[in-house]
Symmetry: D2
Subunit: 343 residues, 4 copies
């Protein structure tokens, strides 16, 4: 880290910082400029939080970290991409994996018709919520255990592995019995008690990015999972909160490219929450495939206008088929120049 001294900091203040840097287990290198000094803390075995706290020392303006704060999730540590195996479906293997299904499990009929349909259209995994995080306590909160049992049944019937959300440490064991992959929702991305519990679970985790989490914070949340012992983590960008109200969230596709650059973990997109508009799901899914994302997660409902949650952003069964077809179409091509006469 680099400790910036303010203009006119006294020699005593600089010496104090140097001593504290050494006390924290680092070497201190001072550079004195014409107007101000900087102190660089060198070494890899010191106590970094003691350096950070030096921002409060007299004469210091700020402490600037120069290394990334995550370790196990870093591509520097593990240059080759991780492949996460979800009951036979490999995410991160170079293909574009499709996770589809209803926002909430509402009934046997709704779940089975959706599952069969998305399977026929080519989906690889089935999503479906049993426990639902809802902004209002008066909204549908999910069928709970009944939904989990329906998910087990539909897996038997279709062979599609199951992804479902876990909201509480207390539900982890039960959900692990019925699901193949556990999703951490956006609002729980920094629920550290839950992350610590899931780091000991025996299932792969789908970690959604929080609506106001930076890419760095997202990777540090994944670091909790790897540091606790669970290496099977897939990241999922689902849109961030911005001033734009024309879409439900702002799907930050560059964060996928950036996360793949910084980390070896697979990264997918959720264009359903990311846009909130069915018409935008196909173009944004194609964009995700084009930039190198490892897949998408999409909400599908047999009758969106009767859905108990997230109907307005769900594709119907035909819409999902058309989405799958659109993923096979080529990019817009670059025309050959027509005005090349002069050169």
């Amino acid at each position: 880290m680099i400790i910036n001294m303010r203009e006119g900091a006294s020699e005593q203040e600089i010496q104090h910082v140097i001593e504290r840097v050494k006390e924290a287990g680092f070497q201190a290198h001072v550079t004195r400029g014409t107007e101000r000094a900087i102190v660089a803390a060198v070494g890899s075995n010191g106590r970094r939080h003691e350096l950070r706290a030096l921002a409060a020392a007299p004469g210091v303006t700020e402490v600037v970290p120069i290394a990334q704060p995550f370790k196990l999730v870093s591509r520097q540590v593990k240059p080759t991409g991780t492949v996460v195996d979800v009951a036979g479906v490999r995410i991160g293997d170079g293909g574009f994996v499709i996770i589809a299904g209803p926002c909430s499990v509402e009934s046997r009929e709704q779940l089975f018709s959706t599952a069969k349909s998305v399977k026929t259209a080519g989906a690889h995994l089935l999503r479906g919520g049993a426990y639902k995080p809802r902004t209002s306590p008066y909204e549908f909160q999910g069928l709970g255990l009944e939904a989990l049992e329906l998910l087990s049944d539909v897996r038997k019937a279709t062979g599609l592995p199951i992804v479902t959300e876990v909201m509480s440490t207390e539900d982890v064991d039960q959900i692990c019995e019925h699901a193949d992959m556990l999703q951490v929702g956006a609002r729980n991305m920094q629920n550290f008690a839950l992350l610590r519990r899931l780091s000991k679970a025996n299932k792969p985790i789908l970690l959604k990015r929080g609506p106001s989490a930076s890419v760095k914070e997202w990777l540090l949340a994944a670091e909790y999972l790897l540091a606790g012992g669970n290496p099977d983590v897939v990241l999922c960008e689902r849109g961030i909160k911005t001033f734009e109200t024309g879409t439900r969230n702002t799907l930050d596709l560059a964060s996928i490219a950036l996360a793949r650059e910084l980390s070896h973990l697979p990264v997918i997109a959720d264009p359903s929450h990311g846009t909130g508009k069915p018409s935008l799901i196909p173009p944004m899914s194609r964009a995700a495939a084009a930039l190198g994302a490892d897949g998408i997660m999409v909400e599908v409902h047999p009758c969106p206008e009767r859905a108990l949650s997230d109907g307005p952003q769900s594709l119907d069964l035909d819409g999902f088929s058309r989405l799958m077809q659109s993923l096979a179409e080529p990019l817009r091509s670059v025309p050959v120049q027509r005005n090349s006469a002069v050169a």
Copy 2:
């Protein structure tokens, strides 16, 4: 709710919406404009989520709610402000309540010296973290039970009631034994499993606003607590995430005035997290007092540059005394016009 039909929606589409509105338990009133129709759903006993899902029906452009979605927290329901009693300290009673103390409990000595000092300066409640939500798994995570026992001890010694954060449903019982008020941190504002558990707890709750939560979402999180049976809720604005990097967060003071207008619950400010800069804490605390907030929560540490967490934004003991003095100074006054000759 109002269902807006698109320009050129067919009569069949309009009739379909009307039927679905009735099916959901409402009356349907249609207004046909020159270019488009709107359908108003009238009544108070219908199933609102069925109306919301109609955004997915053919011919519909959007569904616009016209009533606020919260009930028990609303000032319409209870016009007089709620007073929350925390072991004898009354929040919401017209005075400006001061909660102060270290970010984390680090040692007996650190805690006792801080507590005595903030008490002498005039603080009413003591804050101190036992379980700490940290962005990185490699940062100090709090002393846990040891910290709780120190908090019990310091309460006996000083008489200051204790506020401490709860991160997990599993810790609720234990924390209730040692603390007088339980804090839900910003990153757990929509941890609905935790909110449901705390709605059954026998202690007042300090509910921080999430860094990307709208005022509406914040009030709905409080609604979980009241709906579950706990009426003793104090709201705390602690800054939202924006593009501005000159401060740690953007302290949204207008949200305090707005929350007090919409709800009867007391609302306080946290200028420590809200700004991240000690020099900005006194002016923002004064601003909070001026606009009608019910108090502030401030981080204080005997030696910020040695703090295990949040040192750079902590006041030292002298700084806290000066803050308390600054709260007694009057507003800038409006000068009498000097150029009034002409009129």
Copy 3:
């Protein structure tokens, strides 16, 4: 528009609103719910601003528009996409148009080497700044007229049409002599004096989205150009301001899909400003092509580390060639299910 009355609004307040709606040239349709009333203003020839101001009338909570505020740019008005011809290069014609070149024109050598290189690699238009909007007055402000003359020369030499930014009404005539397309920068998107002047210019306009402009505000800025008489407008998304600091801006690709849905105007992406990182330019360019954007605008410099502006986000000449190659690669393909045994 719909005027929502508050709960308990008096009959007198409702009648007052009805009268004001009629006075503004609309019919008033009232729907009385169990708790509140709404008044719908029907008609297309009234004065809309008088309705908006009713938000200030007693008993009114809000005024909700139900029609989009733009007209000439709307796809409802003109369902087929507009093609903008820039000196023979057609934008919006189904192909993916490449605009490339240096941030600033710095010298004849720099400009010519870049132009020849991007032309060889397949670019269709040359960008280059003569007048530069710079955050600080102490930064390089562009070569002005000298740059414009160099741009004229390089067009003659290469045949590439020229795109350059206009910052001031006073420069419009001069720039029109040398450039084929005039760019309105992000920070001038709502410089209405400039937009009005450009609506009378005889050249196509490239209108960048402001860093905090909603899609609606962006389209209304374009409406100024069309309403003033210039139909040749290309929109350019260049990233919005958010809390994320891992990228320079947040490139909002969904806004491109949304703008193309709402408007008939062509829309391109600027991944250079949108990400600020050369490594993210190829994936985001591919994403733009995949979702249906009409092209990209990219900064290229023969030696980015010596650029007078925006070096850190510029591609070098080889980097631009590789970008062009990457645009020819197919999307990630969706693997055929391997676990389909059971169904």
Copy 4:
């Protein structure tokens, strides 16, 4: 500036950076850590943009500035606060100055009745728009010259100095004849052509913060004015764009305290645009006075529901009187502890 090398950067890459730092006119100090090196550029007479561009050099991860980029506006350069005199009204002199008036000048009667009323209530300056920046070309654009003449008349009648917005370099001379202070609107904060022109004007400037401008960018916009020769600049915070939709903008009061810490220029708040809600104007005005702002700017209209612009956020004449009274009320007081028995 500090140039951070990536882990594993070669000796050759480090030497290349050192040479380029020297070439740019600085001394280079290298610190070699266990994992990476940093190069500090020392000196005050070098060419900083050449250092910034080094972010594009091989082996470099980032270039971190350690000095603030503004000079003339900095409080380091001029520790005592600037007082701006607007026709006899002194802003920055320790008092709280009130600028009030209609959003737009609409008629002689509207202007005169407002002016007399706000003067009686205690306002020091009169605002009123002649040229209006409007999101849509179909909205009222201001009365232009006719409005300016009315403003001159009302000044004669009331003695209140006039503040009005300038949108275009072409209007500067004309507006200077009629107004005492020229306002640069939020959307023109980075209209550098306008700033350069106003730096030569003979009137004080009110510089609004852009809706997505950081405090640093805002101060650099002011730097354009001072660097060009106009020292009489007052800053005005008017709300930034965030995800919150409960208020029109998010009034960032901490930015006022921060701007006053970094700069010697006076800073005022605009709670009308900052909140968009009349009920929030008094509490936020009081908050501004409490934190040390030098004044406020408030929109007042005799009949907000008939205003041609910004009616919904305007105070009526009575509302403005009540605001002025509320500014005389004291802060909420801190109660004496009642539970102090134990200690």
